[in-house]
Symmetry: C2
Subunit: 325 residues, 2 copies
Amino acid sequence: MATIKQVAKHANVSVATVSRVMNKSGYVSEEAKEAVEKAISELNYAPNRVARSLYKKSSNLIGLIMPDITNPFFPQLARAIEDVANQHGYQVVLCNTDEQLEKEQTYLVALQTMHVDGLIITTNHSHNPNYETLNLPMVALDRIVKAGIDAVISDGYEGGKLAANTLIQRGAMRLAHIAGPDHLKTVQRRTEGFVEVAGDRLVGMTESAFAFKDALKASQELFDHAWPFDGIFAANDVIAAAVLQEAVRRNIRVPEELQVIGYDGIELGEMTSPPLTTIVQPIYEMGRVATERLLDLIEKKDTRPKEMLLPVALLERQTTKRKER
Amino acid sequence: MATIKQVAKHANVSVATVSRVMNKSGYVSEEAKEAVEKAISELNYAPNRVARSLYKKSSNLIGLIMPDITNPFFPQLARAIEDVANQHGYQVVLCNTDEQLEKEQTYLVALQTMHVDGLIITTNHSHNPNYETLNLPMVALDRIVKAGIDAVISDGYEGGKLAANTLIQRGAMRLAHIAGPDHLKTVQRRTEGFVEVAGDRLVGMTESAFAFKDALKASQELFDHAWPFDGIFAANDVIAAAVLQEAVRRNIRVPEELQVIGYDGIELGEMTSPPLTTIVQPIYEMGRVATERLLDLIEKKDTRPKEMLLPVALLERQTTKRKER
DNA sequence: TCTTAATGTGTAACCGGTTACATATCAATA
DNA sequence: TATTGATATGTAACCGGTTACACATTAAGA
């Protein structure tokens, strides 16, 4: 790889001039500019980002901290983040914490020593004290880390209400619910909204982690103890898929006997039989907003902390009945 | 963040000595070592990796080039890679190319200018000429880029044969197949193995991209034109999920009337109804082997190009009949 | 014509590490 | 006692950019 010195020599100017034309800063004569550009293209020169980082104390790298990229919700988020970051000349460093606080800590120091410009956090350890002392631009995504740190979330409370209202409107009388892990505020809001609207109609409720196996176990328990119910809302699509599978296994017809609504809007929902009705979060949009916000923070465009609440919508597939008119 | 100079001053030694104790290189007296260690912990010092990179021309970063992180096979791979890389002190830069050659090129220069130490490639543009001139350690994963570049793949040929033999053994007489995109050699091998064993029994075959929507369309065509068949092998689990969904929609009973086998062994397979029988690739293992191989290459432990072929296995869930005995 | 500001360019310091090299001490060996 | 190798440590060059500063030239305004 060519260096700036070689380019300078080749164009018969100093390194300062080369740097000026590359960064379009300071004064450069038309003549010098052309010579430099010619040299750059002839030598196939691309500036060494490491050297630039060292002086500028900025790397054009952002850290993406995720609990588990294997959970199908996160890749869609990652995809959006990577997309937007890339459009702005940033790369993303993938940090899978596996829910282990220790891995998260290790990553935090690694990211700092490599001078990442900012962080997007979708992790579960919202109590991690390190974030406060980090002094790095960061935004929490689908999570609320703490006041003072920006957050981008979808409106789970409205989503929960929407799920309940939809089931009721389609004739469900006896409702059930499987909530998500109780340390995730954003997920609990879904439950709050649902429970509030369901009121007396709620006949059964349990809780589950987001892994499919756990969800299957939770579903079985619910069917064992709270059956019959004719409408169920699951805190996310993976849990809903487990409910569906268990319903099929028990020969319960969906949606005739039991209507099912999930939450997330991930692709998995199209792949189940029958395809899943769900409350969609605008996943790509969330990733986009979070990333753009982070870039603003990095470029110091706006520093007042904000919480951004994005709207959700009902996506009707085939686990709910047709709307009566 | 403290710098090495501050640590040196605090410990009353030179920066060289500090560097020596940090890298356990050269001679350092016990006394100096203790003083430096004390200073490091008191100042909470962590060396600036950017500065180190500049001198060493190595960043402890590896680039991971993927076509689409949203496709559920890749996150599992990413997870393994991230895991192993992290254990060895490397971080991974996620590069989603979206199948666009241009994005891939852009990433390639970005990765070079940031001095990544190596590349893992799971991308589809195996003809991309840039890889050859890149002069960076790299390994292709689930892909064959070209001779001379290491590859880690699973034994698709055996997998295809295994799928056919399994279906035949379980009584299937009329076989069908949905192949994957024909520019992916690793995927074509599955088809070759299957077709070879199926022989005359093969009554229908089509091709599909890996996106669910495409797969659904392909399934429909196959059912429209080649039905009846009583055993089908799909080139991956996503396609198999589409086949299943379409079978359910047409009231075809699985596995009684139609047995289905997928390929990959991703989690999606447990979530369908009924759960999918599939040929599992050792996904985590493939990611692990590829990453370890890359790290060996980086550390110049072994530079003879190799192709590593990992074995596959049958995972029986419920879309095939019980084995007769 | 003289002053002043705008334009153009190069030199060298700087970012924060690593390491070649010079230098010094000391114990072992000839 | 002189020589030698192992041990210990500091100075400064180096990695490849960016930019403060000095200096030169030219055009505009008084």
